[in-house]
Symmetry: C2
């Protein structure tokens, strides 16, 4: 490892532990929030996960909560990606064009966080408009490497133990990829699972809110608090005792390196030893061009969103962002329509697939976090799942010999987010028991 | 009137009357089918509604039915637009490129017709690929005028009394417009109301199967037999005794002439006298550009469909069709996406609108059927409703002093097709009582 590592200490509480401690009175909300702020103060100068820390507001809010009834996220310190509006903290959307921007109202998910008793301690760094122009954020596992993007700060803040849970967004691979690089859980639920009101819009078809945590159970905790329509969650299904995973190498889309192949194989072996059925899955022909179709749809929608939001100022965005806008501007309608139709065709396989396997396991990224801070890594292996709107999560399954995290991606062919989280919790048990 | 008129005689049976006569045994199916074939023989040389008449097959099928149990459409002679596949009759899609084409299987709706006991007597003329290149068909109300298109033959066959019911398709205004020009009912139900399997695809987003008939009740008869999932039809709603129509002039989209304005006013007055509440409706700002957005979406999808279906042969289609394909080829994705988003924005008004009025009344076309056979008329006033996917029907409400039909268009802001048909039946009663 070339840089220093600043990972969360083993004694950092998970979100569920923190909420439990606050709810039983074992620790006050003020105490929990102070611990989070202490950790940020100690570590964030080196890491740069937070764009803004709302220290005073967080302390004040924690004091208020000390005397109030507990909610589902009572006392949970949360970091919020800076493309998500907050009424008490500036929101810069990762762009100098919005450096002084102060939204008047909270995004819907921020309101839900607060209503559930969470404390927003600050806004985490986002790449420019949640695309590819990097932030200053460093990877807590190796300070000389990127944490990935676009939810760079949220992933780093959780990995470094500054907060148990943080919110991000994914339009291509902005939750799963940084989670893989930083060695934590990153969950992009089913498209539309919660409101994106008050979240910077890149693509109406693709933008999905995501959750970072160091434990699978915390994904469920945050999910339940933020779900748009709890009554609409599918009822728990009767699940067979034996679970099945299908391993999809993803190499038809782009070649993951040996570290990733090793991780995928190791996870499959561990699950097989723990009694899971493990199948190899061939790439369905209708899925072959999904990354390309995703890029087409994203470019067209990004171009439309940025033109609408920025007008002539769109010329002032970074070269990498402008290249996407220009790709979208040039794209003929026939390519966009072909991509939409290809998505429909690709979805046709889901029902039989969901019948054959409970989860797919496939790489989250092409390798460990790239060196340097000027490239947030390639989202190619996340694009298909965002396009299909399926629940997908990085499982922090493996560390290579130099301790750099190598994630694998779990994907569900059904839209049962809560069942998916239950499976992740089972898998976490299998993977941690080996330690 | 410049040409001879060949309208249905007053004693032609409606579909419901024919089915009732066959079901009670008052007339045999063979007798009913023979009457339809006689009428075609007598009138179709002048009108040219049918591309192919399957006389032998129809007689044979009628004989079989004479000894069978009655179905919902028992003994009904039906004309089927020649863009809808039939296994026993060639299907030319209105193009010389398919002049010898014989499908191997019936379209889903043709199978439903036959299962319900109807007899397909022939294939009716369609413009080229259901677009704008005219057929040889003449308007039965005036043989020197177009019957409209693209479902030219189906509209003319029903208006001339050759069949009580015929099937058409609408992608822009191909059912409502020819029904207006020919003076009959033409109903385009809610998008997706029945399968388009085996129907020539112009636009996956817009193509909708439609029904022609001389009575509103026949629309319901055919609708119930062809509905894709009868269980999914909304249950009949409790309806207030007083019904409300909102009159939308449509002049922001294109200026209807005085004949049309007279017809719209006359229908509104008759309904008001019959106890309906009549409101004037202002054009919602979000609807102003709907015809243009429809044209964009249609051009892009037509281009894709024709390239896929025809390959290099696309160069052999008519100039008018090629112009649409080239429009679609040139269209940037941003315009297509803007059109899709404008449709979403336009749909936002439907719920309050459905609460305020049971039906909209608006022109079906800009005037009476244009003179000559080289132009099927302008579908501009049908485009918005096809784009929004709403139930829309021509109501043959009025004849101008020279007896040429002037239709008005009824549109529902809800997707309750059956409730819409019930309203049409009530309106038919009001409109025919004046006679």
């Amino acid at each position: 490892m070339t840089g220093r590592a600043m990972l969360a200490a083993r004694n950092e509480l998970t979100g569920a532990q923190a909420v439990a401690a606050a709810t039983t009175g074992e620790r006050s909300v003020s105490d929990l929030v102070a611990a989070s702020l202490d950790r940020i103060r100690a570590a964030d100068e080196a890491i740069g996960a937070f764009r803004v820390v709302g220290e005073e507001a967080a302390i004040r809010r924690a004091k208020e909560l000390d005397d109030r009834a507990a909610g589902l996220l009572y006392g949970l310190a949360v970091g919020v990606k800076d493309v998500i509006d907050t009424a008490d903290l500036p929101t810069g959307y990762g762009s100098p064009l919005y450096s002084d921007h102060q939204p008047a109202v909270d995004a819907a998910v921020v309101r839900s966080l607060r209503q559930a008793g969470a404390v927003v301690v600050g806004k985490t760094e986002s790449t420019e408009f949640a695309m590819f122009q990097p932030t200053r954020t460093r990877n807590p596992a190796d300070l000389d490497r990127t944490p990935g993007g676009s939810s760079s700060g949220s992933a780093a803040a959780v990995a470094a133990g500054m907060v148990p849970v943080a919110l991000g967004t994914q339009t291509a691979g902005s939750v799963v990829r940084p989670a893989a690089y930083c060695g934590i859980y990153g969950f992009k639920p089913t498209r539309g699972w919660t409101s994106t009101k008050g979240v910077w819009q890149l693509s109406g078809q693709l933008d999905t809110l995501g959750i970072f945590a160091r434990s699978a159970a915390d994904l469920g905790l945050a999910y339940r608090a933020l779900h748009a329509a709890p009554g609409h969650a599918p009822p728990p299904r009767a699940r067979p005792a034996r679970r099945t995973i299908a391993v999809l190498s993803g190499e038809e889309w782009a070649a993951p390196d040996a570290d990733v192949r090793d991780a995928l194989r190791a996870v499959a072996d561990m699950l097989a030893r723990a009694g899971w059925d493990v199948l190899e899955m061939a790439m369905p022909p209708s899925w072959l061009r999904l990354p390309e179709h995703h890029e087409t749809i994203m470019a067209v929608e990004v171009a439309r969103s940025l033109h609408q939001a920025l007008g002539p100022q769109v010329r002032q965005i970074s070269e990498s962002a402008l290249a996407i806008v220009e790709h979208g501007d040039r794209c003929p309608a026939r390519d966009y329509l072909a991509a939409l139709e290809a998505r429909e065709a690709a979805l046709a396989i889901l029902q039989p697939l969901a019948g054959a396997a409970d989860l797919l396991f496939t790489p989250s990224a092409l390798g460990v976090a790239p060196e340097g801070l000027d490239f947030t890594g390639d989202p190619v292996l996340c694009r298909p799942w965002t396009l299909l709107g399926l629940p997908a999560a990085n499982v922090p399954a493996w560390r290579r010999s130099d301790a750099l995290p190598v994630g694998v991606q779990a994907v569900s062919a059904s839209h049962d987010d809560l069942g998916f989280i239950r499976d992740l919790v089972s898998i976490e048990t299998v993977l941690t028991e080996r330690e």
